[in-house]
């Protein structure tokens, strides 16, 4: 008698959590690809494949997710990744700046672009989708124009020093990129930010209702600017770690991150309407997305089926989002009666 209500509460509790759907989704696709992909996918190769890809898109998805919880979008991340990696390479190669300063330069570019986005979003009533599409085009143009002006071609090769390579670009146990550890750091920091620190409540409040958030004394302007700087920084960080891992920076890279990161966030149960979501959900969503993307290569299926699965998952994720809430409510009502 005593255990039953507890189980009920746990189930209800689970179902009502925003990440419940994404957890179920992740297990489902993992089991599917484990069956298809066999030992390789279950073992270190498969795990490292999923984690390596997750760590890059995941770092961006975390801060993009935070913005979406606060009711905003950031399309410019796709152009910040190459902008940052090219800044690092141009500083190090064409200007002979030491690695550490070049890396700081790359990160500063991300912060600066985020600052511009944040100011424009908080000072005007123009939707953030439009503003960040504008800065996306702007940064793309600047990156291309300046790279050709300075370097004369659109690809830059860089040999990072041992220290920089070890911190940002080394492989651990042959298969695991060091960026996985950085992803863990980002997860911990952003978890603290959203779920422990008082800032988290502010972010949820901002996404729930901006007017009342402002009336409640939350510095919405500064908070918005801060969140955009965070997403700019995250994208720039990925740019830095790419250039350190692959020793090269290219103008055309990065576009895939725009929609890939949004998909991770949404599969993770974050509502674009703002006010709901969790860091755990975003992490689960990222893993799910990357399991499908990489599992397909272990399974021997036509890689194009991957797009169909991701599209379907996305639609299921968003539709069950409502349903899970409704189910949780019904469940609790049933227990009462």
């Amino acid at each position: 008698m005593t255990t039953k209500p507890t189980a009920g509460i746990t189930l209800r509790h689970l179902a009502s959590r925003p990440e419940a759907g994404s957890f179920v989704g992740m297990i489902a696709v993992y089991v599917f690809f484990a069956l298809m992909g066999g030992a390789n996918f279950i073992g270190a190769p498969g795990i490292s494949s999923v984690l390596n890809m997750s760590s890059e898109v995941g770092i961006i998805a975390l801060s993009v997710g935070l913005l979406m919880i606060a009711g905003q979008l950031d399309m410019s991340v796709g152009s910040v990744v190459p902008a940052s990696s090219l800044t690092v390479s141009l500083l190090a190669v064409d200007f002979g700046v030491p690695d550490i300063l070049a890396i700081l330069g790359g990160l500063a570019v991300g912060l600066a672009i985020g600052f511009v986005n944040g100011v424009l979003v908080s000072r005007t009533r123009i939707p953030s989708l439009i503003i960040t599409i504008g800065t996306m085009f702007g940064v793309m143009g600047l990156t291309l124009g300046l790279t050709i002006l300075i370097h004369g071609s659109t690809g830059v090769f860089l040999v990072p020093g041992d220290a920089a390579k070890a911190v940002f670009g080394q492989l651990i146990r042959n298969m695991f990129q060091v960026s996985i550890l950085w992803w863990a750091v980002f997860v911990a920091v952003i978890y603290g930010l959203l779920h422990v620190s008082p800032l988290g409540n502010w972010i949820f409040a901002l996404g729930g209702d901006k007017e009342s958030a402002r009336n409640a004394g939350i510095p919405t302007g500064k908070l918005t600017i801060g969140l955009y700087m965070l997403s700019g920084f995250s994208a720039a960080f990925v740019g830095v770690s790419q250039v350190m891992t692959f020793n090269a920076a290219q103008v055309a890279a990065g576009q895939t991150f725009i929609f890939n990161s949004i998909m991770c966030v949404v599969i993770g149960g974050v509502l674009l309407t703002g006010g709901a979501g969790s860091v755990l959900g975003i992490v689960l969503g990222t893993l799910t997305f990357c399991i499908v993307n990489q599992g397909i290569f272990f399974s021997g299926l036509d890689p194009n089926y991957g797009s169909i699965i991701i599209g379907a998952l996305l639609l299921i994720a968003v539709m069950t989002n409502d349903k899970f809430r409704a189910m949780a409510l019904a469940l609790s009502a049933g227990r009462r009666s």
């Binding site: 424009l120 702007g138 600047l142 998909m263 674009l272 036509d302 797009s307 599209g311 379907a312 968003v318």
Partner: protein, 338 residues
Amino acid sequence: MNVSILTRRPEIGSILSLIAVIVFYVVFGGVNLGKLAGAASWVNLAANLGIVALPVGLLMIAGEIDISIGAMIPAGSMTVAILSGHFGLPIGVGIAGALALGLLVGLVNGLIATRTTVPTLIITLGTLMAVQGIILSSAMLLAGNASVSLTPPDWAKTVFGMLIAGKYQVIICWWAGFAAVFYWVLHVSPLGNWIYAMGGDQTSARNAGIPTARLKIALFMLSSTAAAFVGICGAIQFNSAQVSGGMGYIFNTIVSVVVGGVLLTGGFGSVLGILVGTVTFAIVSQGIYFTQIERNWSNLIIGVTLLLAVGMNESFRNFAMRSVRKKPRVRKEIAAGR
């Protein structure tokens, strides 16, 4: 007085942006206006983009967005190429099949949009991925190749893929036709008021007896079918369909529509504005080839134009609101429009 009426029109900002862009190219790029006006490049681009931008603009006036058009354009050309090229069915069947696929995807978008509270950006991102995957894998499965060729009969070539005077794509005429129909829908027929009302406030629109769900589904079907249509014309003109391509349309249509003065949050915009916004985008991106400016900067100019245009639209709107507030008689109408 006159000024306030002028600034209240949604397209005024886009007209000024267009002028600004042309002046910029003339002053800093040394562009030859005669050559620019006579060049088919930007008109062709504008027509292809414009046919998609019009229904997407209507959706945005109604407060929604559709990015699945990025997959529907190659899907449209692929469907017609597979049906009529690979399987050798009459071209009419291929065209009908491609349009039917457009209607179906739009129906799916619309149904999910009306049955859930999920933002349409996310819904259509899902269908974007799904359609892309389905088209790629079915091309491989059915035709054994991701690129399929097509030999359309002369009549189809004339109607959908002819080059007028050797350089103007016949799709320009279709664009004009679409524009006329959309103008009638939005600004003449009672449907227009419904669309504005929906974008302004969905709940009160529904309470006022407007069939919001059916209207929304219809708008989504319109946008994905229009995208399929652009794909069909491309396949017929170039005698082949490739599965890659189309993603560029996503951002380009949004930029065109927003530069044209449509409010992304809904309730505000005009067909004329969307047309001018499309032309502005086409001139910004193609006009640079007529200037002495390095081509590498064209994305920068697009970004700056977008931000300046929306900034301008925003301040005009504020100005219009202020001037309206002095005249209580029209306030209600405008308030409903927002």
